[in-house]
């Protein structure tokens, strides 16, 4: 998905804002030449950030903190699953 297609999913997300999210490293689309290519996981992350900013009114400076914590949880979950698998219960 290119950036236009992504912003079209939202009624209130401008390309300028989405590019800012990318610049801040909140979303990491693949780069194809000068264009961004958003994979499914990236789009889901954009939706997540959109929810945080719009519905939950999370401030712009708090978003990186929230994302970092979420990323740590997902990392932890995957390691925990791996550990349980290793313990023969996965």
């Amino acid at each position: 998905m290119n950036i236009t297609e992504v912003t079209a999913l939202f009624s209130d997300l401008s390309q300028v804002e989405l590019v800012r999210w990318v610049d801040q490293g909140w979303v990491i689309p693949d780069a194809e030449g000068t264009a961004y290519v958003f994979r499914e996981i990236d789009v889901a992350r954009v939706r997540l950030i959109h929810d945080l900013r719009r519905d939950m009114d999370v401030g712009e400076d708090a978003v990186p903190l929230v994302l970092s914590l979420l990323d740590q949880i997902y990392e932890l979950r995957s390691q925990l699953k791996a550990a349980l698998r290793a313990a023969g219960r996965g």
Binding site: E40, I41, R45, L48, Y74, L76, R77, S78, Q79, L80
Partner: protein, 308 residues
């Protein structure tokens, strides 16, 4: 459920006023009271009312447009994928936390997460430091035993990987492949968890003389022709040391003599199978005798062997 815009014959882009006027026009046309002879008008009127109920309300119309509610006003479950659907997916790598968790970290986290509660104390009760308790892992060992050690039982000292030594009591009659469980001798438990068990798998080396059948011991005993024919009193090895055994006269190959109680301690017997040995070298006297020997009880040793 039909599209309410379609029912009212309006466009999505039409103003609220246009929708209202479209509804009024249709309502007048299909009102049941002005159509007494048309039963289907009542259904149509209901349809129009429901449609206008949705589109005539600014909020509901907006929510319908966004797909949050359906044409009858019910909530539509969101169809969008959530980020957590990708939480375990490949491609997640780029969003991996830099913080990272190594194994020790993980154990700390587990220790805090699954802390044992103080006895009697409910969740959140007193007890402060919640600690993680888990039974220790079982430790596996292999031990190869001599045949005689296995049938008679013994104690063997094994050295564990952590340097501890452990005296393993081998019960008499242990079988090849049998696993002896030593309770509490495995890896230490975590927190208040009990230590694991040590599992010692026993291999039993074969013996040149003794064989085992269940709890019985089988010994193949070579005897001379004279001993087999005339009988004898011989010294026979048993798993507890030699004993004397009386061979009755006229014992042939395959005669099984039982030594009662000489098998696995308290359970089995020893059986002695006689194997008469024909003299390997020339015995002219014996040969001469056999030439003239007429057995009093002739036998056909090959009776019963079928060649078909």
């Amino acid at each position: 459920m039909k599209d309410p815009y379609e029912i009212l014959g309006v466009q999505k882009t039409d103003s609220d006023a246009a929708i209202r006027s479209a509804y009024r026009k249709l309502a007048k046309r299909f009102h049941p009271d002005v159509n007494p002879g048309k039963p289907e008008a009542a259904d149509r009127f209901k349809e129009i009312s429901v449609a206008y109920d949705l589109l005539g309300d600014k909020d509901k119309r907006a929510r319908y447009d966004r797909g949050e509610i359906d044409a009858s006003g019910n909530e539509v479950p969101p169809q969008r994928p959530f980020y957590r659907d990708f939480g375990d997916a490949a491609g997640r790598e780029k969003y991996r936390s830099d913080a990272g968790f190594d194994q020790a970290d993980l154990e700390d986290i587990l220790a805090q997460a699954f802390g044992g509660r103080a006895p009697g104390g409910g969740p959140g009760g007193p007890g402060g430091g919640r600690r993680f308790s888990m039974r220790g892992q079982d430790a596996q060992y292999h031990l190869t035993l001599d045949f005689l050690d296995a049938v008679n039982g013994t104690t063997r000292r094994v050295t564990l990987p952590d340097g501890r030594t452990l005296d393993v009591k081998i019960p008499a009659g242990v079988n090849d492949g049998q696993v002896i469980r030593l309770k509490g001798q495995g890896m230490p438990g975590i927190g208040d968890g009990a230590p694991g068990d040590a599992l010692v798998e026993v291999a039993v080396a074969p013996h040149p003389v003794f064989k085992r059948e269940g709890d019985d011991i089988i010994v193949a005993l070579p005897v001379t022709l004279q001993e087999a024919v005339l009988g004898a009193s011989l010294e026979v090895p048993t798993i507890k040391g030699p004993v004397r055994l009386t061979i009755p006269p006229n014992s042939g190959r395959g005669t099984r003599l039982r030594l009662r109680g000489r098998g696995i301690e308290g359970r089995g017997h020893q059986f002695v199978e006689l194997h008469p040995v024909v003299p390997p070298s020339d015995e002219p006297e014996l040969a001469e005798f056999l030439k003239t020997w007429k057995p009093r009880h002739p036998i056909d040793p090959r009776a019963g062997i079928e060649t078909s």
